[in-house]
């Protein structure tokens, strides 16, 4: 006779119609199932497979770079991307613009009760794809569930760890008068993609977020041998905020040429409509770099040779200025300050 005790049966995760419930964060079987059937399935690797409270990583002979970022974007799915990809790109880029090679990621999820598992699956798949493209591995993760109404679908916090080769030292306080400033492509795409979706603006071609990992581009730039002093990805606050930060950290002024700054026509039109300035709008797949003037051509060539830097241009120069003012010659022929934006122009964009 066979034993009357049946083998434990767990219903498979219903990725079509299922929803996140409180048990998915409760530490019981449902949580384990979510971990193995969804997260491990897409994001699994030898480190995650260790399955302990912590993950050991191989020793690394050199300096490490760590960066962490929380993502609360609304809507979760936007033209050109979603919160999953964004949560990888954002952190990979923060590590990459330090001059480091991103290696590992950790991710913390805060899920709202009732969130469709199908959407969660899409987000996890998108993370997996972004991680694979960037060549990073998810080595630790955590999931919590909050009651309905206490979250907004999904919040994701990621931490990135990268290896910094000897001899590389990039920092916001290294800009010197005489240096030039380059941008890798059009500005304002991510913020306006989100905004046009929220405001239901329609254009002939939809504005797509530029959300992407930039570690390929940064590697190519470093390999060019140009004397790069600063790299930054101008996310929240846009170009204006990032350039002001550098000016203050380095105690220099920065002069921009409005006519040189690349902006997509649709982004420009949308900004016009909403009374916004493309310089204040977030990017998630662009970087700026400051380098010695004599190396500018070499760096520019290296950037343009990379698919993510084809539209790279020089947009300004570093000058002596104790006030650390950022000024811009307008296309109109006048001159004005470029300042930080006060308050929140676009909440919940990344």
């Amino acid at each position: 006779m066979t034993s009357p005790v049946k083998k434990g049966y767990t219903r498979p995760l219903d990725l079509k119609h299922g929803r996140v419930d409180m048990s998915h964060g409760g530490g019981g079987r449902a949580m384990v199932q979510l971990m193995t059937d969804l997260f491990a399935k897409h994001l699994g690797n030898e480190y995650l497979a260790q399955g302990n409270d912590g993950t050991w990583l191989p020793a690394c002979n050199g300096r490490l770079v760590v960066s962490t970022d929380s993502h609360v974007v609304s809507p979760l799915f936007f033209p050109g991307g979603d919160i999953g990809g964004l949560s990888v790109h954002g952190t990979v880029n923060d590590v990459a613009v330090m001059g480091a090679t991103p290696l590992y990621l950790t991710a913390g999820f805060i899920l709202e009760e009732g969130f469709p598992l199908a959407d969660l699956a899409r987000i996890v798949e998108s993370m997996a794809q972004a991680a694979a493209e960037a060549g990073v591995k998810l080595v630790a993760g955590d999931t919590k569930v909050v009651e309905q109404g206490k979250g907004d679908g999904v919040f994701i916090t990621t931490t990135g760890i990268g290896f910094l080769a000897d001899g590389i030292h990039l920092s916001g306080d290294l800009a010197q008068p005489g240096d030039v400033l380059l941008v890798s492509g059009t500005v304002g795409d991510h913020g306006m993609a989100i905004m046009s979706k929220r405001e239901n603006l329609s254009f002939d071609a939809p504005i797509l977020s530029d959300s992407a990992s930039l570690n390929g581009l940064t590697a190519a730039m470093l390999a060019s041998g140009a004397a790069i002093r600063v790299m930054r990805d101008p996310t929240r606050g846009g170009l204006a905020a990032t350039i002001n930060e550098i000016a203050h950290q380095s105690g220099v002024g920065i002069h921009l040429e409005e006519a040189a700054i690349p902006v997509q026509p649709a982004v420009e039109a949308a900004c016009e409509l909403l009374g916004l300035d493309p310089l204040n709008i977030a990017n998630e797949g662009k970087l700026i770099a400051i380098c010695a003037a004599e190396d500018a051509d070499r760096l520019l060539a290296a950037m343009r040779a990379h698919p993510q830097g084809q539209q790279a241009v020089i947009i300004g120069k570093v000058v002596e200025d104790a006030n650390a003012f950022v000024q811009m010659k307008t296309r109109f022929g006048g001159r004005r300050m470029v300042d930080w934006l006060s308050g929140e122009q676009l909440p919940r964009i990344c």
């Binding site: 405001e199 002001n244 930060e245 203050h248 006519a259 026509p265 649709a266 420009e268 039109a269 016009e272 909403l274 009374g275 300035d277 104790a322 006030n323 650390a324 003012f325 000024q327 010659k329 307008t330 296309r331 109109f332 022929g333 006048g334 001159r335 004005r336 300050m337 300042d339 006060s342 308050g343």
Partner: protein
């Protein structure tokens, strides 16, 4: 897209700048007021003053809807959110305007008020439909351009029989504000505000037309040129004003013929007068009580009038003592004349309303023009202030 660039073209601007330089007389100065915040913003954003001869000075006028809202009105909105428990819908700019007791709508939101930022009154209607068990109030501010949409919303709410939607009406009128400035002692007697002409509003004029300005031209002998919001429009208008002054003319001219007609938009005007009537008097920040300068909702639509519905009583509140917003809105002072400009009062921590909206004179100067103060007066040590500002 083409459209946008066409009106900002640097080459054309240079040509206009040369024409203005050739037109100005060496023996006199030209002081023009741009009434509208949209023009103030365009002038600062594109660096228009750099293209003007030294003798042409632009004075910022009171046409920034957020700037002219008195504290007492914001207090009413805050009360609705915190005490009456309504969902208060407002334009984003308004949330940072300082009100009484160290509050602003933003701080009231942090204290639990349900305050939502909307781009249009239609968003507020939608919120009301989606929340039938809550009362929703739209905080309606602005000049003649924003009034017709509010009127449409009220009629729509009426047609739908909505029970939970009302409007806190703070719509104000451009011509009364201009009259008030022209009648002010500074302009009339003291001569502290030398005013040689006005750049008339763009969007407002598409609604009210160019005719209302004829009175100013005739009665006060001030030329008015209505101009679009593009920087080239502004340059062209300045050239036209300089010519009028030189020729001793005081006429209403229209640079913005691509959108403004003498009579304006009659349909919109009818709609507005159907829903609103003149208030006997309304307090403006900076200008004080100005007779017949604002609108209120007609009796027929009283159920959509938040002031009637919640029996709100307006209490005037004095501005911060150090704040020069009043004098700035009247064109008597410049932002840098205010002692707390740029040190205590910054866009991050506005003490007065002019520092809040990008159309406000102080915010525009702080954001776009403060490098000029340093060039003018190198001794003035603003570096420490700027540095500390950077670490906020």
């Amino acid at each position: 897209m083409k459209y946008v660039d066409e009106f900002r073209d640097g080459e054309v601007a240079k040509g206009l700048a040369n024409a203005i330089a050739a037109e100005v007389r060496p023996d006199r100065r030209y002081n023009f007021m741009e009434f509208c915040g949209g023009h103030t913003h365009a002038i600062s954003r594109y660096g228009v003053p750099d293209l003007l001869p030294e003798s042409v000075r632009m004075i910022h006028g009171p046409g920034c809807p957020v700037c002219v809202l008195p504290i007492g009105r914001i207090d009413l909105a805050i009360k609705l959110a915190l005490e009456n428990g309504v969902i208060l819908c407002t334009y984003a700019d308004t949330v940072r305007v300082p009100a009484s007791d160290g509050l602003s709508l933003m701080r009231a939101k942090a204290r639990g008020g349900d305050i939502r930022m909307v781009y249009a009154v239609t968003d507020a209607l939608k919120i009301a439909r989606d929340n039938p068990d809550k009362e929703v109030v739209f905080f309606a501010i602005g000049f003649e351009t924003t009034t017709p949409p509010t009127a449409v919303a009220i009629k729509q709410a009426d047609a739908e029989g909505m029970q939970n939607f009302s409007v806190l009406c703070c719509h104000v009128l451009t011509p009364s504000a201009i009259t008030n400035i022209l009648e002010s002692p500074e302009v009339r007697e003291l001569g502290t505000v030398p005013l040689d002409g006005f750049i008339g509003p763009a969007h407002v004029s598409t609604i009210i037309g160019s005719r209302p300005y004829e009175f100013f031209a005739e009665e006060y002998r001030k030329p008015v040129v209505i101009a679009g919001f593009e920087p080239l429009d502004v340059m062209q208008a300045i050239l036209m004003l300089v010519r009028q002054v030189n020729e001793g003319r005081a006429e209403v001219e229209n640079e913005f013929t691509r959108a403004v007609t003498p009579d304006g938009n009659l349909k919109a005007q009818n709609l507005v007068s159907d829903v609103f009537e003149l208030r006997r008097s309304f307090e403006w920040r900076g200008l004080g009580e100005v007779p017949y300068s604002a609108l209120k909702i007609r009796e027929r639509y009283a159920q959509f009038d938040a002031e009637a519905r919640y029996q709100l009583e307006y209490r005037p509140v004095a501005d911060n003592k150090a704040c020069e917003c009043g004098a700035i809105l009247r064109g008597v002072k410049k932002p840098t004349d205010c002692k707390i400009f740029g040190n205590v009062c910054t866009p991050e921590n506005p003490m007065g309303s002019c520092m809040v909206s990008s159309e406000g004179a102080c915010a525009a100067h702080y954001t776009y023009g403060r490098h000029k103060d340093v060039e003018r007066d190198v001794e003035q040590d603003v570096s420490s202030e700027v540095a500390s500002h950077g670490h906020e």
